[in-house]
């Protein structure tokens, strides 16, 4: 019966009561000198606010040192019906954070009979990132995610999509129109700022098709300059993960639609 009077809906406390190891204990030698191992990381993930909400995308490459170890990694993960986490950094920790987050939101809803508030969701992610700080400081487990969600309580549809950026200590900042993180992000942050401020159609006014074409071009640009970011693999038909977060929920943009958008993006470039 242990733990059944946990009425706060706190999934982390419940896991602790059940002795689930939330932290990885490293040998003291590793703690002092850092790890001499190659950890898979590097990425470009990008989120933009568009007319219906938020579009969020990530490339598919996972690297360790100079080696590509996987080219179908999922870096944009649905957390609940209206929120998505895009991960960059150590995949092992990032996937675990995403999994705990997903289960925490569900547990709160099931135990407390109401959805966790937007603020509550943001704080839960902050707490997970902060708990991971020792791993981040040792240089082997840092995670810098983007959290995007649709706020059903927003005054109007234009303001429903929200994008939050986190630092390694767990502080969160709301990015009004766009966010990008990962090793390739430095190559496109300026482009995003330009598009948002001076584009013919500002990001936030684009429809889904325009936003998809734009986001694919941004990832293409990042992959051009960042060895750890993959582009579109035509031979193997591997596309980036692209999801939308709108009032109706989280949806994947299907590969055949992405293929059409790629053709549009490339034909304009050639023209």
């Amino acid at each position: 019966m242990q733990g059944f009077m946990n009425h706060k809906g706190d999934f982390l406390n419940l896991l602790k009561q059940k002795n689930y190891p939330l932290k990885i204990e490293l040998p003291s030698e590793t703690r002092q000198h850092g790890a001499d191992i190659e950890i898979a990381h590097s990425t470009t993930v990008v989120a933009v606010r568009y007319r219906d909400g938020v579009m969020i995308a990530g490339d598919r490459r996972a690297t360790a040192g100079t080696s590509v170890i996987y080219d179908r990694a999922e870096k944009v993960l649905q957390i609940d019906r209206h929120s998505v986490l895009a991960i960059s950094g150590s995949p092992a920790i990032a996937y675990e954070i995403a999994r705990i987050l997903e289960h925490s939101f569900q547990y709160f809803r099931r135990s407390q009979l109401q959805e966790l508030s937007l603020e509550g969701k943001l704080r839960m992610l902050s707490r997970l990132i902060r708990e991971n700080l020792p791993m981040a400081l040792q240089g082997i487990g840092g995670v810098i995610p983007i959290f995007a969600l649709y706020d059903l309580n927003a005054a109007d549809d234009k303001n429903g999509g929200k994008i939050f950026f986190y630092d390694a200590l767990g502080a969160h900042f709301e990015n009004v129109n766009f966010a990008t993180t990962g090793s390739g992000s430095i190559w496109i942050r300026g482009v995003l700022r330009y598009l948002s401020r001076f584009g013919d159609t500002p990001l936030q006014e684009m429809d889904a098709r325009q936003a998809t074409v734009t986001i694919l071009r941004l990832l293409d640009t990042a992959s051009e300059y960042d060895a750890a970011t993959s582009g579109y693999n035509a031979r193997a038909q591997i596309f980036p993960n692209v999801k939308t977060v709108t009032r109706t929920g989280v949806e994947d943009i299907a590969d055949d639609e992405l293929e059409q958008c790629y053709a549009e993006a490339q034909s304009d470039a050639e023209g």
């Binding site: 059944f4 419940l14 896991l15 019906r81 099931r110 009979l113 929920g249």
Partner: protein, 256 residues
């Protein structure tokens, strides 16, 4: 007291009488399968009675609200931790019933110096295919009953028998839509409600003798100071979590 078997049996019987007396006036709950899932339905007076336990498991109960809450949290916590430590697909009703709930109920019931749970619980599990749907009822003494297409919990066995008899005559399998399932559920609930208002000896009579007009009247009277509550586990729901409570507009379509 345990070394005096007769007194122990007597104490258990006293406890059974006490719990059944407490449960007798509880608002029944009906569980029905339909073409796109499973529905749990009751009419309550403000206190929520239908809950999501896990991705494909829902719960309802009659009894003391504090006991319902404690046991709901026990099964929700267990399912949540199991789903996280293994995989959500590893959480199933059989394990929750047999390894967590049934023995907890039995232990509390037979520990005659401790408090017993005043509860009857109904759990529904949406299977990967229709024939794998499961309704499980757990009695306050830990006894378990499993059905695939429909089930009921009511205050006494006689009430449950009357409701089951009505379902057997009115039901034509699971080939019904949600509205038809809600209508059948409400009528079955009305049978249970009527039986719970009778004296115990009358309720045991096999003849329920309630026509449709009377059922509708019972439902309408109950709605004056109560509310129809229905939750579904539906195969058409996007994502892993299949549970949702029906809106009042959806319920409205089935009301008499």
């Amino acid at each position: 007291m345990r070394d005096e078997p007769y007194r122990w049996i007597e104490a258990i019987q006293d406890r059974r009488d006490y719990i059944e007396d407490q449960l007798r006036v509880g608002s029944p709950v009906v569980g029905l399968a339909y073409d796109e899932g499973m529905v749990l339905l009751t009419i309550g007076r403000g206190q929520r009675k239908i809950f999501e336990v896990h991705d494909r498991i829902a719960l309802s109960a009659i009894g003391h609200p504090a006991d319902i809450e404690r046991l709901r949290m026990l099964v929700t916590d267990t399912a949540s931790v199991q789903g996280f430590q293994n995989a959500t697909e590893d959480v199933n009703l059989h394990r929750l019933t047999n390894f967590v709930l049934a023995h907890t109920f039995k232990q509390a019931f037979e520990s005659i110096v401790g408090e017993a749970y005043i509860i009857k619980m109904l759990l529904a599990e949406l299977g990967s295919t229709g024939d794998k749907n499961r309704f499980t009822c757990i009695n306050y003494d830990g006894n378990v009953r499993t059905d695939t297409t429909s089930t009921v919990i009511g205050g006494t066995e006689a009430i449950e028998t009357g409701m089951q008899n009505y379902l057997a005559t009115a039901s034509t399998g699971i080939d019904r839509d949600l509205t038809a399932a809600l209508q059948l559920g409400l009528e079955t609930w009305a049978v249970g409600k009527e039986l719970s208002s009778r004296e115990p000896e009358e309720a045991e009579s096999e003849e329920t003798q309630i026509d449709t007009t009377q059922m509708h009247e019972i439902i309408n009277v109950a709605r004056e100071d109560g509310e129809v509550e229905a939750g579904v586990l539906e195969t058409t729901q996007r994502g892993a979590s299949k549970f949702r409570l029906l809106t009042s507009q959806e319920i409205e379509t089935a009301l008499p």
